[in-house]
């Protein structure tokens, strides 16, 4: 008997330990989630052939909902690009081009937009695409029950949607919105069948219905989503390579979180396209026959380190400049990214036509950094070589999201940490999982931070640097992490977001960017990286110039 009671106790303890282990894992765990937009694949001599199944392997977490209205993140945009379409799109020159809407006009006061819609398009459930469908979609985005967090921002200024006739729709705005067309081009604002939207959210998440070249067929959770060709497809965007139905019959969309497994599966021919390709993998694939790369930087903000100006020591512009002058970035990018990423000197992605690049603010100069710190009162050094002022060490907290910063980026931060030490800065890198990271930001427990932001168009500047974005959402989230609080910047961004004249808009955005850059709030690194590797059998692959998601509409398989 004694034996069995001891056994009982030991198995009880083991089970408790198992439970505690899971709880601990919860607290400390993390999973990995993150050009010219045309592929480097050699083109085949033979013409396109129809048919075949393409296997796509995503390194992002499996979406919890295939309708990108719900929530609204990049993994959803990636897959929904294949079955949902928006009112407008963008071409590689950055111009807005027709898609489900053919023409549009803005009222003179900027408070109303009228869109003429295509009258020959049908959703894949048979529902006709019309003005009522557009109204139903905007209502769906604005409904709190939908829990949209990206799409609802895009239509935030839309006050009312009026169906002028079956195929003309008017959007009445609360204030003029120069970013409206950019916003509507995003996959998070794609148009879905109003009939399908009436189903429960659970149903609509499992099989959203659009007008796109593919249709969601089945979704086996944790395994794959199967998409099949829409045979009646007739609504490609104006810059597509062909008309009519897609060329391939079927797409299998798989989720392979581990980057080495993803690449091995591509090499073994188990999958045809992989995303989230890491720098070392891209470099290794460069001299492999049969594998090509698609480099499609994301729009919106460049990846950058932001300096929290709301508290010491970065409330002093001298200290901010000293940090930026002391940080040696280029060597790290060259060695850690194997030539796959190019240094940026801009707040905006290189795909944004209105981005301002200012290398002049980012020359490294250790002597100047030291002078600036002396002048700012950080004149003494402690035993460890760090600067001190009034007994306080010049120490900077840098929470790093291991979900959002790829390993190469985390190593880059370590190199920056090492180089700024020469000027007497102590950088404390704190790797953490996503929830803890957002928690640290919400609690203002950071001096440095790097947070990606994807959005079409320069209006992302208003989201990131307008003082209104310091006010947190109910979750504690706020986007202005540099905490730029400058009435002049606010005024420029407010005016730019409302002005109709494109030249004036460009000038206002340029001035706003120069102000932010010249005050050393931000250390730009590179574009938000977005690399795909694919088998050279995949022909005709391109990324949508909107949010750089690949589209398989023009793709054919040269097997």
């Amino acid at each position: 008997m004694t034996l069995s009671t001891t056994k009982l106790r030991s198995s009880t303890l083991s089970a408790l330990a198992l439970g505690a282990g899971i709880a601990l894992m919860t607290a400390g765990c993390s999973a990995q989630t993150s050009g010219d937009g045309t592929s480097s694949a050699p083109t085949s001599d033979a013409g396109p052939v129809a048919g075949g199944t393409l296997v796509y392997a995503s390194g992002d977490a499996e979406p919890t909902c295939l309708d990108p209205h719900v929530g609204g993140n990049y993994p959803q945009a990636l897959i929904s690009t294949q079955y949902l379409e928006s009112l407008v799109s963008k071409n590689t020159a950055g111009e807005i081009i027709p898609w489900l809407a053919t023409t549009w006009t803005e009222d003179a006061d900027g408070l109303g937009w009228e869109f003429a819609l295509r009258d020959d398009v049908t959703f894949t459930d048979g529902t006709p695409f019309d003005a009522a469908a557009v109204a139903a979609n905007i209502a769906h985005l604005k409904d709190p029950n939908t829990a949209s967090s990206t799409g609802y921002l895009a239509v935030g200024k839309v006050k009312e949607v009026v169906a002028v006739d079956d195929h003309t729709v008017r959007l009445e705005l609360s204030t003029p919105d120069s970013a409206l067309l950019d916003s509507l081009s995003q996959p998070w604002v794609a148009i879905e069948s109003p009939t399908a939207l009436k189903r429960s959210q659970e149903e609509n998440c499992a099989s959203p219905v659009g007008t796109g070249p593919f249709i969601v067929d089945t979704w086996v959770k944790q395994d794959k989503v199967a998409l099949v060709q829409n045979k009646d497809y007739n609504s490609p965007p104006a810059d597509a390579g062909h008309t009519g139905a897609a060329l391939i019959d079927r797409i299998e969309w798989r989720f392979i979180p581990d980057s080495a497994s993803r690449y091995a599966a591509l090499q073994a021919g188990q999958v045809d396209v992989i995303d989230n390709a890491q720098p070392d993998t891209i470099a290794a694939a460069a001299d492999k026959n049969g594998i090509a790369e698609l480099n499609a930087p994301r729009p919106g903000a460049a990846n950058r380190i932001e300096l929290n100006s709301s508290k010491a020591p970065f409330d002093d512009v001298k200290v901010r400049e000293a940090f930026i002058r002391a940080a040696i970035v280029n060597d790290g990018i060259n060695s850690l990214f194997f030539g796959t990423a190019e240094r940026s000197y801009s707040l905006l992605s290189s795909v944004e036509a209105l981005g301002l690049s200012t290398p002049e603010y980012f020359d490294t100069d250790l002597a100047q950094a030291n002078n600036l710190l002396d002048a700012a009162g950080w004149a003494e050094h402690d035993a460890d070589g760090y600067r001190v002022k009034g007994g306080e060490r010049l120490s900077l907290t840098f929470p790093v999201s291991t979900n959002q910063s790829i390993p190469a980026e985390q190593s880059l931060f370590q190199q920056i940490q090492a180089t700024v030490k020469a000027a007497g800065f102590e950088v404390v890198l704190e790797p953490m999982d996503l929830s803890s990271w957002y928690g640290a930001l919400a609690a203002h427990e950071y001096n440095l931070v790097s947070a990606p932001y994807t959005k079409v168009g320069p209006d992302v500047l208003r989201i990131l640097y307008h003082s209104a974005s310091i006010t947190p959402a109910p979750s504690g989230y706020f986007a202005n992490l540099a905490q730029v609080n400058d009435p002049e910047v606010d005024a420029l961004l407010d005016e730019a977001s409302q002005v109709t004249d494109p030249a004036k808009r460009a000038e206002l955005y340029e001035n706003a960017q120069r102000l932010v850059l010249s005050q050393f709030y931000v250390l730009p690194l590179y574009d938000q990286q977005n690399h795909y590797l694919h088998s050279t059998a995949v022909q005709g692959l391109r990324a949508m110039p909107t949010v750089s998601t690949p589209t398989f509409y023009d793709v054919w398989l040269d097997r």
Partner: protein, 308 residues
């Protein structure tokens, strides 16, 4: 025997309650708002209206004690709740994913047993060199982490040789690398204890008398030795099953296999509390069942234990 079984069942229920309670409170200690998790995970920019709606719908506005007893009540009725992220029934979700993990872990357990027993019987007391080589291999096998082994297997067998798929495919071929990854470190552990017990057995009087009766060394080893080598292995199998369940998190992720481990990892990342709790409870339940079964087998295989 009945009294023993009753005690085990009572103990099991207590463990389940403790796991549920621990997880319920531990998940609330870590940063991250459940309402945020429901509305698209951390960093979502959900509107105040949406957050308020969700808090109401999921009872998150209730005091913690009310939420706790509510959750326990639902558990007693066998209701594991609704996933925050997938908005589907957690019980059905787990049932969907459970078989994949069960097949993987049981196959790995069987493979580990075969490797460990085979190696121990082959090399124990087989001379200085074979003993050293055998125990050296066991120590090495026990020390390799799953993620490392998985990466090496993928590089060698998928990228270089192209023999086996790098990611899960339907059918037994897709199981080979995941099972080997889980089985090898476990075989190392099992092999070490089996070797010790086998070595004792081979020196014990009954082995001596068997030899004296004229049985061959192979006969002594494979007939008499095997029971003694197996005993500690059986006792350890309950623990081994638990270890395999946690190993499944890594293996399912690396080999992109559907299963409970991957479900758990995804759920943890997005703070999907009902799914995390559900997977933990089901894992604990499976663990308890396996320990009871191994104890039973232990008693049958070793009559000395059954006398009390």
């Amino acid at each position: 025997m009945l009294r023993w079984l009753g005690l085990r069942i009572a103990g099991g229920v207590f463990v389940l309650w403790a796991v549920a309670t621990l997880i319920f409170f531990a998940l609330r200690l870590i940063p991250g708002d459940p309402a945020q998790a429901i509305l698209g995970g951390p960093g979502s920019q959900a509107s105040p209206e949406a957050l308020a709606q969700v808090r109401l719908d999921y009872g998150l506005d209730q005091p913690l004690a009310a939420q706790y007893f509510g959750a326990l009540g639902r558990l007693l009725r066998g209701d594991l709740g609704t996933s925050y992220a997938l908005k589907t029934d957690v019980g059905a979700l787990i049932l969907d994913q459970f078989w994949g993990t069960l097949v993987l872990t049981l196959a790995a357990l069987a493979a580990a047993w075969i490797f460990a027993l085979g190696l121990a019987l082959w090399t124990t007391r087989g001379g200085w060199l074979s003993d050293r080589v055998g125990s050296g291999m066991e120590i090495m096998a026990a020390a390799v982490p799953h993620f490392w082994l998985a990466s090496v297997f993928i590089i060698v067998f998928s990228s270089w040789l192209g023999w086996l798929p790098a990611i899960s495919v339907p059918g037994p071929i897709g199981l080979v690398l995941p099972v080997l990854t889980l089985a090898i470190p476990l075989a190392g552990f099992l092999g070490q204890v089996m070797r010790e017990s086998l070595a004792d057995a081979l020196e014990s009087p009954f082995a001596l008398s068997a030899r004296a009766r004229g049985e061959s060394e192979t006969g002594v080893r494979w007939y008499h030795g095997i029971r003694h080598a197996a005993l500690p292995g059986i006792s350890l199998s309950g623990w081994a099953f638990g270890a395999l369940l946690s190993g499944a998190v890594v293996v399912e992720t690396v080999f992109a296999r559907p299963g409970l481990g991957r479900t758990l990892l995804n759920a943890v990342t997005i703070r999907d509390i009902p799914v995390v709790t559900g997977v933990a409870l089901v894992s604990a339940l499976a663990f308890i069942l396996v320990t009871v079964v191994t104890d039973l087998v232990d008693r049958i295989a070793d009559p000395r234990l059954g006398t009390s």
